[in-house]
Amino acid sequence: MTQAFRIENGGLINRDKKLSFKFNGKTYLGYEGDTLASALLANGVHLVGRSFKYHRPRGFFGAGVDEPYAVVQLFRNGETEPNIKATEQELFEGLEAKSVNCWPSVNFDVGAINNFLKIFLPAGFYYKTFMWPKSFWYRIYEPFIRKAAGLGVASTKHDKERYEHKYEYCDLLIAGSGPSGLAGAYAAAKNGAKVILAEDKPRFGGSLLTSDVNIGNQSGKDWAEGIIAELKTMPNVVVKNRSQIFGYYDHNMLVMSEKVSDHLPLTKKYHPNKRLWYIRAKEVLISSGSIERPIVFGNNDTPGVMLSSAAKEYLKVYGVLVGRKPLVFTNNDSGYETAIEFKKHGVDPVVLDSRKNPESEIIDEAKNLGINIKYSYVVVAAQGYKKVKSADIASISEDKKQLGKIENIQCDCICVSGFWTPTIHLASQSGNKTKFKEEIDAFIPGQSKQNEITLGAANGVFSLEETLKTSFTAGSELSKKITENDNKIAIPNVVEKKSSQHDKFWCVPLPKGKNYKRFLDFQNDVAVSDVEIALREGYRSIEHVKRYTTLGMATDQGKTSNLNGLQLVSEIENKVVPAVGHTTFRPPYTPVSIGAIVGREVGKHSKPTRKSPMHSWHEKNNAVFVDAGVWLRPRYYKRGNENLFEGSKREAKNVRTNVGVCDVTTLGKIDIKGPDAAELLNRVYTNAWLKLPVGKARYGVMLREDGIVMDDGTTTRISENHYHMTTTTAQAANVLSHLEYYLQLVWPELNVNVVSTTEQWAGAAIAGPKSRDLLQKLFPNSDVSNEGLPFMGYMEGDLFGVKARIYRISFSGELAYEVNVASDYGNFMWEKIIEVGEEFNIQPYGTEALSTLRIEMGHVAGSELDGRTIPYDNALEGLVSKKKDFIGKRSLQRSAFITEDRQRIVGVVPLDKQTSIPEGSHLVKNDKAPLPNPKLGHISASCWSVEYDNPFSLAILKDGKNMIGQKLFAMSPLKNKVIPVEIVSSHYVDPKGERVRS
């Protein structure tokens, strides 16, 4: 329970607030301001996981986003999230975390047998080892690999957290709040530009939090705090911590994930867990800094081996010693800064510098402090299994090929610095072609492609003075272009220690007779030998080497491994690094939670819900609803204990015997006006429209240019140049776009306007033999007799003071009408129809009864007009004009569309008149034929015919025209059914269509 590795004072944590947390079931204490990593290290916990492939023990390697090892399963407020980096997770009271990728436990891991038995799965092991025999894959290999190689477990529960999306626009977006980001933001903000400054860590300041510099007579950290405080007061600036810009997309769109609640034990009321920002920026300043890179040596993955910058950060930010006997292994001056910090806190480090006799201010300071420094010395291998216990070290020749005598020295951590790699991910994602900078052995951004500029360490500039100068200037210049303000800002004085040149050295040679694993990629366990194998086996492109070895493909995306991998390939191939090139950087820069990407669009919110004006009436009257596209429609109105089958049968039967009313508001409605309206309809529909009189409706079918039926519906001529088109519910939006396409692009000479009026009208279909009697009572002043309002007739009427449109059209095949009123009167209309209809035994009917009625009449709907059928297939060829041209007509001459045995709609009745045929069943000649049994057609829609009281289905059947009377089998492997059936006409009820005209 003691934080044995926490120093007395110092760090930026809040020592007044202790927090307790659990790791692998054990309780520890930390402080507010800790990360899970710093709190564990304060408690001396270095073993946090197992590696992906060999299950080797894993500790902490970094202190932030670059961490390849310390990936944990997090438990918070009854939820669990996998793949959380312990170095990024802020500590909160009650936090619980567990190691991942260890089975059965982190201390005893069965998978580590991979390591000890020296099966040592080399490069391409998945491809080679598990290829044969094939039958072993599913039963043995895959379950084993899955169990052994997972990284955490996703929750299977519904996520109760909320995630939000936000769209934002700004003049200047700045990625990273280190010295460059702060300077750029400050200068641009002073010019009045709209600035967003994003920092992924909880604390602003970047490297200024840990570096020993002085800006304008303040420490770097104090200067940063002053700038941030001032920026926060400015109305034109948004300053965001815990916010990672992870993707740079086209046209200067960047996406940022803001962790709103992850640092708290509970999400605050009305707060999201995370917020995803889509930011369209006029200019982007990438100040994402750099990541220290490791030097490769034997067993360099042992817990206790970590980046020297991380060790310094744990000490300066969190007041934590990562060891009491540190060994610092460096090829540049950065290692000395870490050593000096150790020394200042009473710990004696040993520094191994691969360089022969470097000289600089920092080295002088280390010398003056009495730090033990060994030049031309390297770590050959770390010793210790679950924690570093000692190190084998040796002197190294100037050409870095020969090792001296191996010595062993005691140490409990090895802090390694192989110089710095600029973080160029965002620049590269933007399309910037990066270039190799010889002086720093790394890639930096090249020519900008979008409006982006990269400055500071991310651009390979490691001098603070130069970084501040260029960043202040860039901030002013970029904002001046936009705001036309030019407020001069004095650039503050900088005091920093000058560094000496780093050593171009990245990999310690193996000593004779030793075969240490030297890891390049710590998360995916890719060693130097794996890359050597890949190259030996002929892989040349760096992209291929990456995929074959999985180098840089883990969740850390090779932030610490990429450059060393490139160095190795270039060395073996005897090419320079820029010629090898780097693999493509793709978003996201760091893993983003799926919840944040999905946002609010989950469950019911994944699409809008549209309700008709009569919805509340349906609800009050026990409607059971069904999703119809985005609409909610009554499926049936439940009475007592009725189920769907019983209820819909009752409703359909009542339509056939009395009268029913159905809410048809959802139908698409398009108002068409203009002198050329008839001509447009004549080109859009397959049948003739030029002679439709005013006050008449007509059924029409429209095709796509490829001859496939697009939609059907009725269109009514309201007045001379005014038509009212209806579409199916599903195709409403597509039909409108279709009409607009032809009017705007193909036939702009047509003088027509179209507009959607779907939401302007509420619609009720009144159907059944008693519908005219009801209509007469609803419209006592109108002549709705068969002569006054014949089939396909239209009139306007007065519904108790409300203007109504009355169409005599029928989908049910019964005598039927559709009444439309303005939406606001929809409920009034509906209640009147129910009230007046009572004496005629009216019942409302839902979509299920509606389907039954249309199916037994052989009327086609979406299940037949499924994007694969032409008019003939639906028995609609009578509506295809031979005389005039229309959209898609030419395609109907295609040979496949005119074959003699072309598919066609038929009716299907089970021989036993009992068994309902599942929709989607295949029709076959012989139910015993070997698979694949030739399919003759499929069942498109099924119902229980209320007219004949037996099941009835529609099907699209090959040579349907000549199949009437044939006996076939309907087979549904999904429902495990084989049903003997007879093919009949699709017009099962009232084949002559007398009822609609009665």
């Binding site: 086209d250 769109m253 889509y278 492609k449 607009e740 396409y741 702009p748």
Partner: protein, 89 residues
């Protein structure tokens, strides 16, 4: 996400638009004989160009106008946009 300059409305994000394919396709005139080959070319055959491409977009959540967009299919750079009836020089 692309940023498209609707000639009627101004700069808008891609999610307000829907894509409409190659703008250079000309529908054969009505009531004219069309060979199988010409009709197939109109209905089905498209060049999948790398580089500058003139294409149709509809500003579906805006002014509902079909517009022409000159875009590089490889880099997504948008050079110019045109109204439906504007001649593309």
């Amino acid at each position: 996400m692309l940023h498209i300059n609707c000639p009627h409305c101004g700069m808008r994000s891609q999610n307000e638009f829907s894509y409409g394919g190659d703008a250079s396709v000309k529908r054969p005139e009505l009531n004219k004989e069309v060979s199988d080959q010409d009709w197939d070319n109109f209905v089905y055959n498209r060049k999948s160009l790398r580089g500058k491409h003139l294409e149709l977009w509809q500003h579906i959540s805006g002014c509902r106008q079909w517009i022409k967009v000159e875009r590089d299919t490889a880099t997504h750079e948008i050079f110019r946009t045109f109204k439906a009836d504007e001649e593309v020089a």
